[in-house]
């Protein structure tokens, strides 16, 4: 039941030295940076959808809110990027809580509808928000680069950014593992497994649900903020259907509530997606086919396969 830190630490160590091999390949570095940022968003999504069992489709909307808030705070208000990312995440977190409130009494399918509609409504809101500097249908450009102790991180320089996003990603994995192993994590899973029973033994369902919405939103907001300052450009294209499905596929193929699965899937699919770009119109077609095939033939996702292998391995160790 409890998640261990061991594998995550090993993975972190490996990733730390990965640039020794590939730092010349700027494209690959870029993909890895994106994978790291997306994985933060997805870990939060796995928290709410996989572990708490709440059908939330608003994760990318909240990522976008985090990205736009942070971009606007640093570009228009002039806050230092780190601060604006922080404040942006808090705004995202607040939106998460606002969405949570009506969702408390809703059946699963309606939560899916409300959150999905948030996603769709946000596209219009950003267009409407042109007057306050959202860039409307185009984009916000010229977002100041991240800076820390006087050093600024231009996105052309991949290596520093690689370490920034790597640190962010692994910090969030550790936080995630901590949450899952904490009382909160237990209450999420308990409510998912048997809601009435959980309530009857003292789990405050409203509180738990609000917290899980807030935490998932915090992950998404943080990822969004860093994304904005890395890309130095945000546009409504993040909310596009192809992006939505790509990220959802990472979550599902990774395996709901089967922790490292989602991260593995993030890296696989981000890389795959980038390398398929030359295929143009065939890319989404191929992606669609892959999704359908993967879901039909791998119902428990990559996480399910990882669990299967590790239990086999443990049994093997015990026998020998």
């Amino acid at each position: 039941m409890k998640l261990s830190y061991k594998n995550t630490i090993i993975a972190f160590a490996v990733m730390l030295f990965l640039p020794l091999l590939i730092h010349d390949n700027s494209f690959l570095m870029h993909i890895l940076i994106m994978s790291c940022l997306f994985s933060v968003l997805l870990v939060g999504w796995d928290l709410i959808m996989g572990y708490a069992g709440i059908f939330s489709f608003g994760q990318i909307a909240i990522f976008t809110i985090g990205a736009y808030s942070s971009a606007m705070l640093s570009k228009i208000v002039g806050l230092p990027p780190l601060i604006s990312i922080l404040v942006g995440s808090l705004i995202a977190c607040g939106v998460g809580i606002i969405v949570a409130l009506p969702s408390l009494r809703l059946a699963g399918i309606y939560v899916a509808m409300v959150t999905f509609l948030l996603h769709e409504a946000l596209i219009s809101m950003i267009r409407i928000g042109r007057v306050i500097g959202t860039g409307g249908a185009t984009s916000i450009t010229g977002i100041p680069p991240l800076s820390f102790l006087g050093y600024s991180f231009p996105s052309i320089e991949r290596l520093p950014w690689y370490y920034v996003s790597l640190t962010l990603a692994f910090l969030s994995y550790f936080v995630f593992i901590r949450i899952i192993n904490s009382s909160y994590g237990i209450s999420f899973v308990a409510l998912r497994d048997a809601e009435d029973l959980a309530k009857s033994v003292g789990v405050d369902d409203y509180r738990s649900k609000i917290i899980v919405f807030a935490m998932a939103a915090l992950f998404a907001g943080l990822a969004g903020g860093f994304y904005a300052h890395y890309m130095r450009l945000v546009s409504v294209r993040i909310l596009g259907l192809d992006n939505f499905i790509l990220l959802l596929v990472m979550l599902i193929v990774g395996g709901l509530g089967k922790f490292p699965g989602v991260i593995v899937a993030t890296f696989i699919f981000t890389i795959l997606n980038e390398y398929m770009r030359p295929l143009e119109v065939f890319r989404p077609i191929l992606l669609g086919v892959m999704v359908i095939v993967a879901i039909i033939y791998m119902p428990n996702g990559i996480g399910g396969i990882i669990n299967f292998i590790t239990t086999k391995f443990r049994r093997f160790k015990r026998i020998s």
Binding site: P102, R105, G108, Y110, A121, I245, V291, I295
Partner: protein, 289 residues
């Protein structure tokens, strides 16, 4: 001013009637098989492009023939899709969410297939009826009037089918108690497929009707799906009457919002409206369990 209000209202009603068709189709499948088909909008796109193809291939093409061709085509298409995607997925434990993702995948696939086959340029369907008709000082397009009539025929026909025919009754039975239907000896999978086929036909017809008002684009179905989705949520998932009422409520407000605030406000407005309704009625207006 008054005349303007009337014509906004009239436009709202015609649009609502097309929304009602898709929303009912979406809700019907959910009611019977508890499956949400996220590729539904792309089905409408497919229907519209098939109609366009028919008109561009044959000079003598007219709408009655086009409809006669489209209905069996969309029906078989729907049955094939049901057999290919929701059916194998229904066996596994997270089937609700995996069908969502798989049908989303299908939606993207279809939209891009259309893009690949027909190109990115917009296309237009011929109108159902030309010219306008004046009632008092209010002018109405014949096209919209025909749409409204057709939509009413479709909805009434569907309701009669569900109410009066034995097959329709079986579909309602599966929606109400699937275990009971199994005990009685119904072939559940056949009924699922049939329902999916019918809903696909509805999507196709709606795509065709909307194609006579708006231009066709490969990704246009997505907006239709989202609207149908909100309507279903508001009306109550699985409820056909709910979808019907909700389609008119939202369709008419949509045309007023469009007129007063601009089209971009429609989605935020619907979002707030839906949230407000769900706070008081957590299962939509006429939701089933």
């Amino acid at each position: 001013m008054f005349n303007q209000l009337i014509s906004i209202f009239a436009n709202g009603i015609t649009i609502s009637s097309t929304y009602a068709i898709v929303a009912i189709g979406l809700s019907l499948v959910y009611g019977v098989s508890k499956t949400f088909n996220y590729a539904y909008g792309s089905f409408a796109t497919v229907g519209a492009y098939i109609t366009w193809l028919l008109f561009s291939m044959f000079d003598w093409m007219n709408y009655p023939v086009a409809i006669m061709v489209m209905i069996p085509f969309m029906f078989l298409f729907g049955i094939a899709i049901e057999w290919l995607i929701p059916r194998p997925l229904r066996k596994n434990e997270n089937w609700e969410i995996t069908t969502v993702v798989a049908t989303l995948g299908l939606g993207v696939l279809l939209a891009n297939l259309v893009l690949f086959l027909f190109g990115p340029y917009t296309k237009a369907l011929p109108e159902l009826g030309g010219g306008t008709v004046s009632i008092g000082h209010v002018q109405l397009d014949w096209n919209r009037i025909v749409i409204l009539i057709l939509a009413i025929l479709i909805v009434v026909g569907l309701k009669l089918f569900l109410k009066k025919t034995y097959i329709g009754m079986s579909m309602r039975a599966v929606a109400q108690d699937i275990e009971g239907a199994r005990v009685v000896g119904m072939k559940i999978n056949h009924i699922f497929a049939l329902t999916f086929g019918i809903s696909t036909v509805l999507a196709g017809l709606c795509g065709m009707l909307l194609g006579t008002i708006y231009f066709l684009t490969p990704s246009g179905g997505w907006e239709i799906f989202i609207k149908a989705f909100v309507i279903v949520a508001l009306g109550g998932a699985g409820s056909i009457d709910g979808a019907l009422y909700a389609a008119f409520i939202l369709g008419i407000t949509e045309s007023f919002v469009q007129f007063t605030l601009g089209p971009i406000w429609v989605m935020p407005f619907w979002f707030i409206f839906l949230m407000a309704v769900l706070i008081f009625k957590p299962r939509g207006l006429l939701g089933i369990r």
